[in-house]
Structure formats: structure tokens, C-alpha cells
């Protein structure tokens, strides 16, 4: 398990855990980001803000937030 903040562009990962207050975790869950979901790193924090892809959707994630989302790299 690694924090999202160290994942790199193009990598496919599965969300394992989200740390944070109840409201925050819940909000992410309902946006479709919950444990088990597979996402792709469209742009990583090295090259600017984090952008992740979930289906045809794109989410921007602040750097502080990316440290609180733990993921498992896929293959």
C-alpha cells in the first residue's frame, strides 16, 4: 500500500484506504472513490496537481489530500 502522493503518471492503482474525518471520507465515497475502486493517475504531483481518472471522470486532488489516500499499484 502506498500513499497516492507517490504514485506516478500513467500508473493504475486500486484505492485501499482513505484517512480523514468522517465527512471527508464519506464525501469521497459518494463521489465514487471508495476502497476497491480502480483509478489511473493522469497527472502526478511532480508535474503539477494530482489528477486522477475514474472512468470518464477526472478529479483534481490537492497535495495534502493525496497523502491521505492509500492505494495498491495494479500489475
Amino acid at each position: 500500500m502506498i500513499p497516492l502522493s507517490v504514485a506516478v503518471r500513467g500508473e493504475k492503482v486500486r484505492i485501499m484506504r482513505i484517512l480523514g474525518g468522517r465527512g471527508f471520507v464519506r464525501r469521497l465515497n459518494e463521489m465514487g472513490l471508495y476502497p476497491g475502486v480502480e483509478i489511473e493517475i493522469i497527472s502526478d504531483g511532480q508535474a503539477g496537481p494530482f489528477i486522477i481518472g475514474l472512468g470518464g471522470l477526472r478529479f483534481g486532488i490537492g497535495f495534502g489530500m493525496a497523502k491521505k489516500i492509500f492505494v495498491e499499484p495494479l500489475g
Partner: protein, 666 residues
């Protein structure tokens, strides 16, 4: 035939095309206001169809119906308390799974729903085929396909709203799996809250919904204890968080549904080549900020180079109108007092509202274009790290920057910040940005006393404003918004070409709000100051004997520690509340000289040190009436009073501090 009335709400995820559907349904004529108690925009419109009159309320863009975020609470309260006849859920059909989540939430609540599959053109171009009939069967609700950006399917949607909404349907339920269902069933029998479906109450209790828990508690404390036990047991069994489990089951239901009704199984991670490639440039680590600054420079130029001449034109015209009116009144034998009331008071008052219209409408035009194109969401991320270091939000940057032109559009630009607390902070410190109306004061005094270093002196004032804004924001954050951290996670819509109609409607909605609400306060303020300057009857306008002169004289001793303790300075500052650019003109009036002769006059009464203190005072003390009115309009009186109070105290302390410390060294 008698017209029947229906009231519906439009709900949907952000970026699902909700406002476009709203504009098409209502023909773009909306009543814009605020939801009670909060500054979230509320739009209401109407349409006629057959023998129905349907009023449409546009709900905020939401993902679910929890009571955690303000937007979701508003939507939920609307549904539960105002009991609309139904809700139209606008769904981005190209992202069906995620967008239908909200629909399942509404259906669980037992609301009459029409689902609008919007953006069908994108579905077709992706080669997806949605079996709408099947989908409609499973959900048990009418489903309409639209392409709102082109106006397709709107008539069908109206038809469905009028004809289908009130048909009785079998209740919708998601199977949460044996273990959870058992607990839900048990709870359902125990808890009963009138007005809510009991299964929904049970599910919400399991989710730990605070509001429902509060209501349920009245029926016995035992519920809560039982809940905690149930939850612990279930979580132990499931191996993880129950709340996440419930969300997951809903998504599992949706994903099954989509397998059955969507023809082509599309990739999990879809390619958005063009949009992703643009993002690689626009939010790039090195290019992101320069590109953003470039964009902001364009916006600034757009607002003030284009708006400036327009405002000047309005000012000249109103000046001419005022003179003609006073000439007319006096030549008809009217008294000087009456002519002054009409020209300085009323026409002057209307003029001071109208001059703000060009920059405000242009600002909202620019913001509407940035929002509709998809860039605005990115801009927040580009500036996020930098602004967070300053204790502000990524989206605070634009209001601050616009504030350098004029604080009024700057304060209004804060509307784009979703978090109420970040928005209020941004608004409160905005008047510290040296607006263009303060520049004439700076140039007069800096030119008179610091001719060799004029540029540096003016620059130091701009910088002082920024530094103070950062400090004040920090202090206010600690004082008023302790616990709040607003994490930045946002959906980034794909880049799109804004439509002319959509952008213009948006500009008009926001701009006209200023005219209606802030306009009246500004007008009243101008008339009040005019009265103070003209009364008691018979005094010369703004002379020492007028009320305003007396107030100025009264305050003069207070200004003495800052180095400018004479009544003219007091009156000039009082008039400055009207509009900062008036300060220079007031000195002219009071000393009876043209602006060109002012340099000599102020050389007589100011020293370089007290001149600098006066400039600092002009920068900080009390925002102009228009700014106060706008702050009130965007927040409430409490924050408007705070803005007046803190700026007055801070301005005085800074001016006195600079003068007193300076005296030691000079």
C-alpha cells in the same frame, strides 16, 4: 381549463449540465436569490406546458443526500421540508454509473423522480448504447434522453414532468446483502418517524446520519446504544467500515444495472486524450502558474481597459445630467438646496451605482467563460499550494487580483469559492487590496512629498495591503473558523467550448443581483452623506459649519496622533467612505483650489511623514459604501460591520504607529 400547479426541483452532479437544462426549461428567466441562511445561490423559474404551470427550483450540484455539505443539506431540506411534487435528476449519461448514484438516493427517500439522461450526444459518439426502457423498468421511473446544449429532448422532458411524475410507483429498494438487511429490517420495525419512509430512516441511522439520529433520539435513547452495538457487530463481520460498505453496495447495484442496460462495455479508465493533454500543459508544475498569471492579466485588462472608458462615459454623462438638472431647476426658480438635492444627491447617487456596472458585468462575463470552459476548476489547483501557504483558498486568488481594480467585483468574484468560510475570509480582506480609486490619493501625496521615489512609495502601499490581508486572514481564521479545513478535491470537467447563451445568462444573473441589492444601499448612503454635507439649512456645502464639517472637527483630535489632526482631513476621509476617489476632490473643495493647486496646499498642512501616514490610513480605513453594501449583500450585516470595524481600527493603529515611530527617527 384551470391551470394546475406543480413544483419540481432539478438535482444532479456538478457538471451534469443542470443549469443548461434549467435555462432551456424556463427560457432563461430565473429569479435568483439565496437559500435561507446561507449564501448559496438559489434559482427559481417557471414554464407553462399544456394546462400546467410548473415552477422549477435549481438545486445545488450534489453527489449524494447526506447532511455533511451545505449543498447536500440544502437539497435534502428542500425535498423533505418543501415537499415538491417531484425531482428531475439530471444525469451525465456518458458517466452513467457515478451519476445515477444520486438517483438511487432520491428513490430510497421515496421521492417522485424523472431521470434525464443528458449529454446523449457524447454517449452516441462514444459508441455506447443505453437501453433506456430497461433502465426505466428497473428503476420504475420515467427516463428522458436529452442533449441540453442543443436543446434536444426538452419538450419530451416537460411532457414527462407533467404526465408521469405523479403516477404511483412501486417502492424502490437496493438489496444490501443478508447481514445488513437483517439489521435494517429490525430497525425499520422499531423506529418510526412520520413523514419519512421507515426503510430510509433505518438506512440513515446505520449510516450514522446526525440529523435523523437527533429526530430518532426523541423516541428513546435506547436507539442510539442499539445502533452502536449493531454497527460494531456488522463492521466486525464485514471487516470494514459500514458506511463505506453501504456506498459500495449501492455502486455494486448500479454496476449490475449498467451491465444489463448498456450495450458496449466501456473501458474502466477512459481516454480523454485531448482534455488530458491540455491539462498536462495548463496545470503543469512549471507552466501552470505562468499560464494562470497570463490568463489573469488578460481578465484584468479585459475588465478595466474595456470597463474603464465605459465607466468614465457613464460618469461624464451623469455629471452632465446633474449640471443640466441643477441649471434647469435654478432657472425655473427652484432653490439652490433643491437643485443640489437633485444633482448632487439623487443623480449623484444613481451615478455612483451605475459606474460600477461595466466592470461588474465584464468580470462576470470573464468568470462565466472561465467556468464554462473548465479552466476555473484547474486554476484553483494551480494556485492551491501558494494560497494555502498564505492561509487562503486556491480560489481566493482571483477575487484578490480583481480587487486591485475595484473591490466590488473582487468581493463578488468570491462567489466561486464553495466553502462558506473561505469565501467570507476572502471577502473580509478584499478591501485591503488597493483598488484603482485609491491611486489618485497615492499619486497626489507621493507626487507632492516623494517626487524622486514616487513609484516605490506607491508600490510599498500596494505591498502593505497584501501583507496585511495575509495577516488579517490568518487572525480571522483562528478567531472565527477554528476547526475548518476545506480539503481540495474537485471534479474537473473536460474542457469545453462555452456557449454564448449560457455565458450571457450567467453574467446577467450575477450582475443584476448587484444592481438590485447593493445598488439600493449605495444610493441611500450617497444621499445620506449629501444630507450631512448640506444641513443645517443655509450652510455652504461641506463647510466647517455643515454637519459633516462638525463631525470632521469632532474626529480631528483623534487623528492628531497620526499627524493630520485638522478638520479638513477628517471630512476628506468621511467623504472617502462615499468613494475613495472623492478624497482628493474633497481637499480641493475644502481649500477652494483646483486639483493642480492642491500640491501647494497640502505642502502647507502635511509633512512627508504625516502624508505617508495619511496614505496608509486611506488604504486601510473603512471600505467605501459600495464595498460595504456588497459585503453585506454577499454575507450579512455582521460580517459587513466587522469589515468596517476592523479596517477602521487597523487603519488608525497603522497610521498612528507609522507617524509616532517615524517621528523618533526623523
Amino acid at each position: 381549463m384551470e391551470t394546475k400547479k406543480l413544483k419540481i426541483g432539478l438535482a444532479g452532479n456538478p457538471n451534469a449540465g443542470k443549469s443548461t437544462v434549467f435555462n432551456h426549461l424556463t427560457g432563461g428567466r430565473a429569479h435568483v436569490g439565496n437559500w435561507p441562511g446561507v449564501t448559496v445561490e438559489k434559482k427559481e423559474g417557471k414554464f407553462q406546458f399544456k394546462d400546467y404551470e410548473v415552477s422549477v427550483v435549481d438545486l445545488p450540484g450534489i453527489y449524494a443526500l447526506t447532511a455533511y455539505s451545505i449543498d447536500e443539506k440544502i437539497a435534502r431540506d428542500f425535498i423533505i421540508k418543501e415537499k415538491p411534487d417531484g425531482i428531475v435528476v439530471i444525469v451525465d449519461a456518458s458517466n452513467l454509473e457515478r451519476n445515477l448514484y444520486l438517483a438511487t438516493q432520491l428513490l430510497e427517500l421515496g421521492v417522485n423522480v424523472v431521470i434525464d439522461l443528458n449529454m446523449m450526444d457524447r454517449v452516441r459518439s462514444k459508441g455506447m448504447a443505453i437501453d433506456t426502457k430497461k433502465l426505466s423498468q428497473i428503476f420504475g421511473v420515467p427516463i428522458v434522453e436529452t442533449v441540453a446544449s442543443k436543446g434536444e429532448g426538452i419538450e419530451e422532458l416537460k411532457e414527462a414532468i407533467v404526465n408521469e411524475l405523479e403516477k404511483k410507483r412501486s417502492p424502490f429498494r437496493i438489496d444490501y446483502g443478508e447481514d445488513i438487511e437483517m439489521v435494517i429490517n429490525g430497525l425499520e420495525k422499531r423506529v418510526n418517524i412520520s413523514g419519512y419512509p421507515s426503510r430510509w430512516v433505518a438506512i440513515k441511522l446505520l449510516e450514522g446520519d446526525r440529523e435523523i439520529l437527533e429526530i430518532a433520539k426523541r423516541e428513546g435513547e435506547a436507539i442510539e446504544r442499539e445502533m452502536v452495538d449493531n454497527k460494531k457487530r456488522l463492521e466486525k463481520h464485514l471487516g470494514y467500515d459500514l458506511e463505506a460498505a453501504l456506498v459500495e453496495r449501492r455502486y455494486a447495484f448500479l454496476s449490475g444495472l449498467i451491465k444489463e442496460s448498456v450495450g458496449k462495455k466501456y473501458d474502466l479508465i477512459e481516454r480523454l486524450d485531448i482534455s488530458d493533454r491540455i491539462d498536462r500543459i495548463l496545470v503543469n508544475r512549471y507552466l501552470g502558474i505562468p499560464i494562470f498569471l497570463g490568463m489573469m492579466w488578460l481578465v484584468f485588462q479585459f475588465i478595466f481597459t474595456l470597463g474603464g472608458p465605459l465607466s468614465d462615459g457613464i460618469e461624464t454623462f451623469m455629471g452632465w445630467l446633474g449640471e443640466s438638472a441643477s441649471y434647469g431647476i435654478e432657472s425655473l426658480g427652484g432653490s439652490k438646496w433643491l437643485s443640489s438635492l437633485v444633482s448632487d444627491g439623487i443623480i449623484g447617487g444613481i451615478g455612483s451605482v451605475l459606474v460600477f456596472l461595466p466592470p461588474i458585468f465584464l468580470l462576470f462575463l470573464a468568470i462565466a467563460i472561465l467556468e464554462a470552459s473548465g479552466y476555473m476548476a484547474r486554476a484553483a489547483f494551480v494556485m492551491d499550494r501558494f494560497m494555502h501557504a498564505l492561509g487562503l483558498h486556491g480560489k481566493s486568488f482571483i477575487p484578490m487580483l480583481v480587487g486591485f481594480g475595484c473591490n466590488i467585483p473582487g468581493i463578488m468574484a468570491a462567489r466561486t469559492i464553495e466553502s462558506e468560510k473561505d469565501r467570507i475570509l476572502t471577502i473580509l480582506v478584499n478591501p485591503l487590496m488597493s483598488c484603482s480609486a485609491r491611486l489618485p490619493i497615492y499619486t497626489l501625496f507621493a507626487g507632492a512629498f516623494f517626487a524622486d521615489n514616487q513609484g516605490w512609495v506607491v508600490f510599498s502601499l500596494y505591498l502593505l495591503g497584501i501583507v496585511l490581508a495575509v495577516i488579517v486572514a490568518r487572525i480571522f481564521k483562528d478567531l472565527f473558523f477554528k476547526s475548518e479545513v476545506s480539503p481540495l478535491i474537485m471534479e474537473l470537467p473536460p474542457y469545453r467550448m462555452p456557449t454564448v447563451k449560457g455565458v450571457l445568462i450567467h453574467m446577467w444573473e450575477r450582475g443584476s443581483l448587484f444592481l438590485k441589492k447593493a445598488g439600493t444601499i449605495i444610493f441611500a448612503g450617497v444621499v445620506l452623506i449629501w444630507l450631512l454635507a448640506s444641513l443645517p439649512l443655509g450652510v455652504q456645502y461641506a463647510s466647517k459649519e455643515s454637519f459633516i464639517g462638525q463631525i470632521g472637527s469632532f474626529f480631528a483630535p483623534l487623528l492628531k496622533p497620526a499627524g493630520f489632526g485638522f478638520w479638513q482631513a477628517g471630512v476628506a476621509l468621511l467623504f472617502g467612505i462615499l468613494a475613495k476617489e472623492v478624497v482628493v476632490g474633497t481637499f480641493g473643495t475644502l481649500y477652494g483650489v483646483e486639483e493642480a493647486g492642491l500640491t501647494n496646499v497640502i505642502h502647507g498642512v502635511f509633512t512627508p511623514l504625516s502624508a505617508y501616514a495619511f496614505m496608509v490610513m486611506s488604504l486601510i480605513y473603512i471600505p467605501c459604501i459600495a464595498a460595504i453594501a456588497t459585503i453585506k449583500r454577499e454575507t450579512n450585516w455582521r460580517w459587513a460591520f466587522l469589515a468596517v470595524g476592523y479596517s477602521l481600527i487597523l487603519g488608525w493603529l497603522m497610521a498612528v504607529g507609522i507617524y509616532q515611530v517615524g517621528k523618533i527617527f526623523l
